[in-house]
């Protein structure tokens, strides 16, 4: 199989990830639930993972790294902490349902800024125009449909300047782009563990500049006599038993990313994206959503004038190529791009892919049309 769906889950992982998950299941029990060896072993894995994540995101306090099930869970905590009925929230035109649905459920008033694809200047200008009166900004770092890298630093600067709380969805950027949590001054940054950070499914991180409001309540392994959740991070936001095998795998994924460096991994994906674009540009049956000015992170969406995107993905599967079609849970992004009716076929890359696999994917797409 040629796996081109890493924007959903990085199915290809560093080998150490698989081993760590298995070892944790055999050796590590529940952190914070007992003082015996296997509980303390689990606690050590969990804390080490917080430390490596904190180092990767330039944070000096590992306690501010909260474990979640995925980025959606992390975003729900962040939004639950800062959105409220009637509160004015500004979002980009490229947000995922993981942002829009919890915002709608919160009763907040949502306004959209920046609808032009691959146009950073327009996006900054639109945010600058609309930020007055906003009480919260939520913005994705990279569009999960088009790979469009949004000018997150400029938006963060605007938020700091106006004193508006800021939540970043780093689902597609974590592990590939530099994320400087204190430098950005964001209140929360949410990310999955199972994409660019190379961890297993069922893992996610919420980087917290503030304490936040628990989304769920329950056991945290301490202050058990208290009727409320512990006051300090990370336990404040981590009710229930943590996914220790997942976190053990994520630790190895994070170590790999740190060792290889996100810039190197991104450069590899850029090389592969370049190969993909060079091979597909001559095929006139496809419309490619390409940022010719740069700023496209490991994802290429396309549509065909001969076939709908789901049929195209099914045909690719017959060639043993895994790619996703449809709206990719981001109807707003498709609205911005004018692709909401039919969706797109999304090819998303991994640094573990080989050039030869990209060539085979191009050849399959050529044969299909």
């Amino acid at each position: 199989m040629i796996y081109l769906d890493s924007a959903a889950t990085s199915f290809l992982k560093p080998p150490a990830v698989y081993g760590a998950v298995g070892r944790a299941m055999l050796q590590a029990s529940s952190p914070g639930r007992g003082g015996y060896r296997s509980a303390m072993k689990a606690a050590e894995i969990v804390y080490r993972c917080r430390e490596v994540a904190a180092e990767l995101f330039h944070m000096d306090d590992p306690s501010r790294v909260v474990f979640c099930s995925n980025a959606t869970h992390a975003l729900n905590i962040a939004i639950h902490s800062l959105a409220a009925p009637g509160r004015r929230v500004l979002i980009s035109g490229f947000e995922h349902n993981a942002v829009t649905r919890p915002l709608l459920a919160s009763g907040a008033q949502i306004r959209v800024a920046g609808r032009k694809m691959f146009d950073e200047e327009d996006l900054i200008k639109d945010f600058r125009t609309k930020i007055d009166g906003a009480e919260l900004v939520v913005c994705t770092h990279v569009s999960n449909v088009f790979g469009f890298v949004l000018p997150i630093r400029e938006i963060a600067a605007l938020c700091l300047e106006r004193g508006v709380p800021f939540i970043i969805d780093a689902s597609q950027s974590a592990g590939l782009l530099d994320i400087d949590m204190p430098g950005l001054g964001a209140d929360f940054i949410a990310m999955p563990g199972h994409k660019g950070l190379m961890g297993p499914q069922g893992t996610g991180l919420l980087l917290c500049a503030r304490t936040g409001t628990p989304l769920i309540q329950g056991g945290a392994g301490l202050d058990s006599a208290s009727p409320t959740m512990p006051e300090d991070l990370p336990e404040h936001l981590e009710a229930g038993t943590l996914n220790v095998p997942g976190i053990a795998g994520l630790l190895e994924g994070l170590r790999y990313v740190r060792q290889r460096d996100p810039a190197t991994l991104l450069a590899r994906e850029e090389t592969l994206l370049g190969e993909l674009l060079r091979g597909l540009r001559p095929l006139s049956a496809y419309k490619l959503f390409e940022n010719r000015g740069g700023g496209q992170c490991g994802i290429l969406s396309l549509v065909s004038d001969r076939m709908d995107s789901e049929t195209l993905a099914m045909r690719l599967d017959q060639h043993h190529i895994a790619a996703r079609a449809g709206l990719h849970c981001a109807p707003l992004a498709h609205e911005s791009a004018g692709t909401k009716t039919m969706g797109t076929l999304r090819l998303s890359l991994s640094p573990f892919l080989e050039e030869e696999q990209i060539e085979r994917a191009i050849e399959a797409l050529r044969k299909i049309i």
Binding site: G32, A43, G221, L222, S224, A225, S226, E235
Partner: protein
């Protein structure tokens, strides 16, 4: 041999303190806090056998010393180790 116990706010807090002490060459262990010493039920603490004054200084410098400090008198944890 002397033995000291530093009460921590949480497991993660205890781990953070342990790492910090380790970086200063002070060995300590994270353990569940003895029952009766915590205010709200289950808690975590650090145990160390030497360099208590240095440890307290290091933790204080980083604003991480938030709980009581106890000394083992051979039969029980004696409240409270003289911090002066």
């Amino acid at each position: 041999m002397e033995k000291y116990l530093i009460m921590c706010r949480s497991l993660t807090h205890a781990q953070r303190c342990q790492r910090l002490l380790e970086q200063s060459g002070i060995i300590s262990s994270v353990i569940k806090a003895p029952a009766g010493l915590t205010q709200k039920g289950c808690g975590y603490s650090l145990v160390l056998r030497r360099h208590i004054k240095d440890a307290l200084r290091v933790l204080r410098e980083r604003n991480l010393l938030t709980g009581k400090v106890y000394q083992w008198d051979g039969t029980q944890w004696r409240e409270e180790y003289d911090l002066s």
